[in-house]
């Protein structure tokens, strides 16, 4: 069974996998939050995907439209770019270095979290997904 990307079902599956596959020690007991802002989704809308970790524990994940919750980091870009990253067709770092994605937030802290973001993306990439 494949889940529609950014649907409620996809979110629920992502939460289940993140909780089981990324225990606090794998997330370096980090406390942080991140918003992915998806522009130009296939239906023409913009969406957000919000993650929050507290002491390395998965705390919250939201998918939605409109104003997202405040987050320590905001990554924005086109839906297609995020989809390529989730499918493993493009690295997040390359997307940032070629300005396909934009990051807002403290870059020094972001550097410390880069490997954690990669782990998170790998878990999401494992979800059977329709784009």
């Amino acid at each position: 069974m494949a889940f529609q990307y950014l649907s409620q079902q996809w979110r629920d599956e992502a939460e289940k996998r993140l909780k089981t596959e990324l225990p606090p020690e794998r997330m370096n007991y980090v406390t942080s939050s991140m918003n992915n802002l998806y522009k130009n989704c296939p239906d023409g809308k913009d969406r957000f995907l919000y993650f929050k970790f507290e002491d390395g524990n998965f705390a919250e994940m939201l998918v939605g439209e409109g104003e997202p919750p405040k987050a320590e980091f905001v990554i924005s870009g086109n839906y297609d770019v995020f989809a390529k990253i989730t499918r493993g067709e493009m690295g997040a770092q390359r997307a940032l270095m070629t300005m396909k994605l934009k990051l807002k937030g403290n870059m020094v802290k972001a550097l410390k979290l880069a490997s954690l973001a990669d782990r998170l993306n790998k878990v999401l990439a494992g979800i059977p997904t329709e784009y």
């Binding site: 924005s76 870009g77 770092q93 997307a95 940032l96 270095m97 070629t98 300005m99 396909k100 994605l101 934009k102 990051l103 807002k104 403290n106 870059m107 020094v108 802290k109 550097l111």
Partner: protein
């Protein structure tokens, strides 16, 4: 790193920021965008060798922006926490123009306001003025803002040195003196034989590092060592050490630099390598006479032009005016401030105002260059001095003499 007011080297950096903010309010400036190395040192207490900026809002803490590879170290060294030291990098949303302009817009009501920038010129290469490209990019990114030149705010506030700054300069000078001791120990009793200028520079560096120096900070080549004809190059006040070997019968100039908590030690000492001729000693005596005369004359109230006139008259009377460079000082402050004296208010923009009247607790480098190219001889004096009401205080205590070794 933090220090308390009990620390002799304590500087009240939050108060410095408040003083800038007060002046910003007076001039209706909403954000100050500092880019000069001297501004960064004076406000952050951290050495910022990569392109860096400080954004000072009209209230609250400033935020530093530097190359991402060095931002964590700057946060560790400075009094600011890691939330107020940001790193920029060539990534979407993270380049310096977008990151800083977004940050400034977030600090302005409706993204509109007056932004103070630092624009000008300097003989000192790493000054850090906003470049034309940066100016154009910020102007475009902050299109609803007015960019105005405001560096005089920092120049005026940093002119008079506080106690902690002067104590840091004293310690930097004490360290320089240790460097001179190390050099003398190495070159005396024929130890100079076979040595090169670069080796002497290294001996000084080791001596000073052992005494706590952070860096041989001078952009003129670290420790400047000159021997033989290189000491007497006309107007030659810049002599990065070369691979030239020290020779008998030649002069040797040892101009070394230490840094302590961003305060700068800078003292030049001179030798004659035996056997010295009478003519060489005549030059040496002239040089020491004018150094002593200059140190006796410096005091609050005197101006660079008045001092130079008196000293050149003295040199003329004694018959060695032809060998004097007619300048007796250069500016000094925390790292990055090594050029103009006082404010940018002289007849030639961004050069020292010859009529600047020194005030108590100003610090400059008392600097003299004596050069006689035809005799292949020259001497240099540099020493940080603090101005007092009726005298100046030389911070390096290494004895003024020219030894024949």
């Amino acid at each position: 790193m933090t220090s308390t007011s009990q620390d002799p080297y304590f500087i009240d950096f939050p108060q410095r920021i408040k003083s800038i903010q007060s002046e910003m309010q007076n001039q209706n400036i909403n954000v100050y965008l500092g880019s000069r190395l001297r501004t960064l040192s004076w406000t952050t207490d951290a050495f910022c060798p990569w392109r860096s900026f400080i954004v000072i809002p009209v209230e609250g803490l400033p935020t530093v922006f530097s190359f991402v590879i060095d931002a964590a170290r700057i946060a560790d060294d400075s009094w600011l926490d890691e939330d107020h030291v940001m790193g920029f990098a060539p990534m979407g949303g993270q380049d310096q123009i977008e990151q800083i302009s977004d940050f400034i817009k977030d600090n302005l009501n409706g993204g509109k306001g007056r932004i103070g920038i630092e624009s000008g010129m300097s003989n000192y290469l790493p000054e850090g003025w906003l470049t034309h490209y940066e100016y154009e990019q910020f102007k475009a990114a902050l299109s609803d803002c007015e960019l105005i030149n405001a560096h005089t705010i920092v120049d005026r506030l940093s002119l008079i040195k506080d106690e902690g700054t002067i104590n840091r300069f004293k310690e930097a000078s004490r360290i320089v003196d240790e460097g001179h001791k190390a050099v003398y120990a190495a070159i005396k009793n024929g130890g100079w034989k076979g040595m090169t200028e670069t080796e002497i520079a290294g001996i000084a560096a080791l001596g000073m590092r052992r005494a706590g120096s952070e860096w041989e900070w001078s952009f003129t080549g670290g420790n400047e060592i000159a021997s033989g004809y290189r000491t007497g190059l006309a107007g030659g006040a810049c002599t990065p050490a070369s691979r030239r070997e020290i020779q008998a019968g030649e002069p040797l100039m040892v101009d070394i630099h230490a840094m302590f908590k961003l305060a700068l030690g800078d003292h030049s000492h001179n030798y004659l390598i035996a056997p010295a001729t009478d003519r060489q000693w005549w030059h040496a005596q002239n040089f020491m006479a004018i150094v002593n005369k200059t140190l006796e004359t410096y005091r609050a109230g005197i101006t660079p032009s008045a001092l130079a006139e008196q000293m050149m008259n003295f040199a003329e009377e004694k018959g060695f005016a032809d060998y004097m460079v007619p300048g007796f000082e250069h500016g000094i402050g925390m790292m990055g401030d090594e050029w103009r004296i006082g404010l940018n208010d002289g007849p030639f923009p961004y050069w020292t105002n010859p009529d600047h009247a020194y005030q108590e607790n100003e610090v400059i480098i008392c600097a003299m260059q004596y050069a006689c190219p035809e005799d292949s001889i020259g001497f240099r004096y540099e020493n940080p001095i603090v101005f007092h009401k009726d005298h100046c205080e030389a911070l390096s205590k290494y004895p003024l003499e020219i030894k024949e070794i």
